[in-house]
């Protein structure tokens, strides 16, 4: 029983990591909170749903289409929503992405209605039974493993490529990065593009287990905020640990005190903020523009 709870918690956490990592990346690099992140995830769900219902494409394969489309969507979002508000007061930045979030919700409502839609893959209802007490849903394992693989690719990209290192450099010291010849605005664009691709991917991986509807993103962005602030805003290892913690908390309380399922991680979140205001892996001052 305990093992079963732990396993489903970790499996859930894997997808939460992917949903949150884009948020932390965008914040870490461009110091902009993307309130439309949940809606990007919702659009990822819809795209995967339509690819499935029109072309009968399995959600796992559809990621090959989701990645480029959502990267492009992210760069457009940077160019038309974020860049014009970069030098504006913070409140304006909040309203820019918050406004986009509301726009996208209503656009989805207009285009696809308020129906709940989901994808039933051939393995949706299959579960692997390991012992009499433990059985694991195949679609959750698929989502978890795919998330981890994508995460691994992302980390290797950040560590090994010039653009990846430049992304880290900009998040650590923006003006020093400028002095090293890094075009900071282009790096912002890449970061927002990658962040949105991660959110779209998370949507694609979540659709076999969750329903797509116009406000589907709202609950995920709340979870993502908890994950990101818990781990330390702007920190990728923080998002990984935060994602697993929130997944575990949700699955533990879901069994023992189901009525407190969502309250539980907010309570934990408040406690962590009281003890460590910068989050578990947070760097002091990470929220300040350009750090120094």
């Amino acid at each position: 029983m305990i093992l079963q709870i732990l396993i489903s918690g970790i499996l859930l956490g894997g997808v939460y990591i992917l949903a949150s990592i884009g948020l932390t990346l965008i914040f870490g690099v461009a110091k902009v909170v993307n309130f439309a992140h949940g809606e990007i995830l919702m659009l990822g769900m819809y795209l995967t749903f339509w690819l499935y219902s029109i072309f009968n494409l399995d959600p796992t394969y559809s990621i090959a289409i989701v990645i480029p489309i959502f990267f492009l969507l992210g760069t457009l979002m940077y160019l038309f929503v974020i860049r014009p508000s970069l030098n504006a007061p913070e409140l304006t930045q909040v309203f820019a992405t918050l406004g986009l979030s509301i726009l996208l919700q209503n656009l989805a409502l207009l285009l696809w209605g308020a129906d709940y839609r989901t994808v039933k893959t051939f393995y949706s209802n299959t579960a692997v039974t390991i012992s009499p007490e433990i059985s694991i849903s195949v679609s959750r394992v698929v989502a978890f493993v795919t998330s981890l693989l994508i995460l691994l690719v992302l980390i290797i990209f950040l560590k090994k490529t010039y653009i990846g290192k430049a992304i880290q450099a900009v998040s650590q010291d923006r003006s020093a990065a400028m002095l090293m010849g890094i075009s900071v605005k282009r790096i912002y664009m890449y970061a927002v593009g990658i962040g949105c691709a991660c959110a779209g991917l998370a949507g694609a991986l979540l659709i076999p287990q969750y329903y797509a509807f116009p406000t589907a993103g709202v609950s995920f962005i709340l979870i993502s905020f908890v994950v990101v602030v818990l781990g330390g805003i702007g920190s990728i290892p923080g998002a990984i640990v935060g994602g697993i913690i929130v997944g575990l908390l949700e699955s533990i309380t879901g069994v023992f005190v189901p009525e407190l399922k969502e309250a539980s991680y907010f309570i934990f979140f408040i406690v962590i903020l009281l003890i460590r205001p910068n989050g578990l892996f947070g760097v002091k001052g990470a929220g300040e523009e350009g750090a120094r």
């Binding site: 880290q168 010291d173 990065a177 002095l179």
Partner: protein, 234 residues
């Protein structure tokens, strides 16, 4: 080669540079000296494109650069080693050096240059996998200079070469800068330590309250009674 002509620079409404002109010729070491808040760092920031002059112009090889973004200026061959080193603290020494070769002009030769840097600064090779936040002040200064050189600059600008270093390390840094210059890189350096700066500079400019008040050869400025009184306390 680098020609700053009558620039006025403001922070918001406050003017910090008044009609500043200076020239750097190929192969020179030029020092820009002056007290704290005289406008030395502002001058370098303006050359690097972080600040834009309200009046005047900056020419590099007879072409305007003061309208370009900072990354384009680096691409032309002018790099700054900023005050306080400004290394990326949560990246390794090697990753910091590799980021120095981010400009396209230097990427192809990044591996060769990395090897050269480790030859010039062997202690950086020993610490190449360490995060730069854990280095000593002297090592950080070496790392910052090496990172600047990785971009294969024509002009290396060093802001506050000696700040926060022990006298021994200052001597070492100054010697390194001289060696780099002898290998063919033109240098524009800033230092509060007027004595050190004037000793290695071919030519120097003295900045006071945002205005160039003196200029001349390094050695002859060291003999100047006004300068000795004002900056060396002799």
């Amino acid at each position: 080669m680098l020609d700053i002509k009558n620039i006025d620079v403001f922070y918001g409404d406050v003017q910090v540079l008044f009609d500043v002109s200076l020239q750097v010729r190929p192969g020179e070491i030029v020092a820009l000296v002056g007290a704290n808040a005289a406008g030395k760092s502002t001058t370098l920031k303006t050359i690097s494109g972080l600040l834009k002059p309200k009046a005047g112009e900056i020419l590099f090889h007879e072409k305007n650069i003061h309208t370009l973004d900072s990354d384009k200026i680096v691409e032309k061959g002018i790099i700054q080693v900023p005050e306080g080193r400004r290394l990326f603290p949560r990246l390794s020494v090697e990753a910091n050096l590799e980021l120095g070769s981010y400009p396209k002009r230097a990427r192809a030769k990044a591996q060769d240059n990395l090897k050269n840097m480790y030859e010039i600064f062997p202690q950086l090779y020993d610490r190449r996998h360490q995060l730069t936040g854990s280095l000593s002040g002297g090592e950080q200064q070496m790392c910052a200079i090496a990172r600047g050189l990785m971009s294969m600059p024509e002009v290396l600008m060093v802001d506050e070469t000696s700040l926060g270093l022990s006298p021994l390390l200052v001597k070492h840094t100054i010697r390194t800068i001289k060696e780099i210059n002898e290998l063919g890189t033109t240098i524009l350096l800033i230092d509060q330590n007027v004595n050190y700066a004037l000793r290695i500079a071919h030519r120097a400019y003295v900045l006071e309250n945002g205005r160039i008040v003196m200029q001349g050869e390094g050695n002859s400025l060291l003999e100047d009674p006004y300068l000795r009184k004002a900056y060396l306390g002799i």
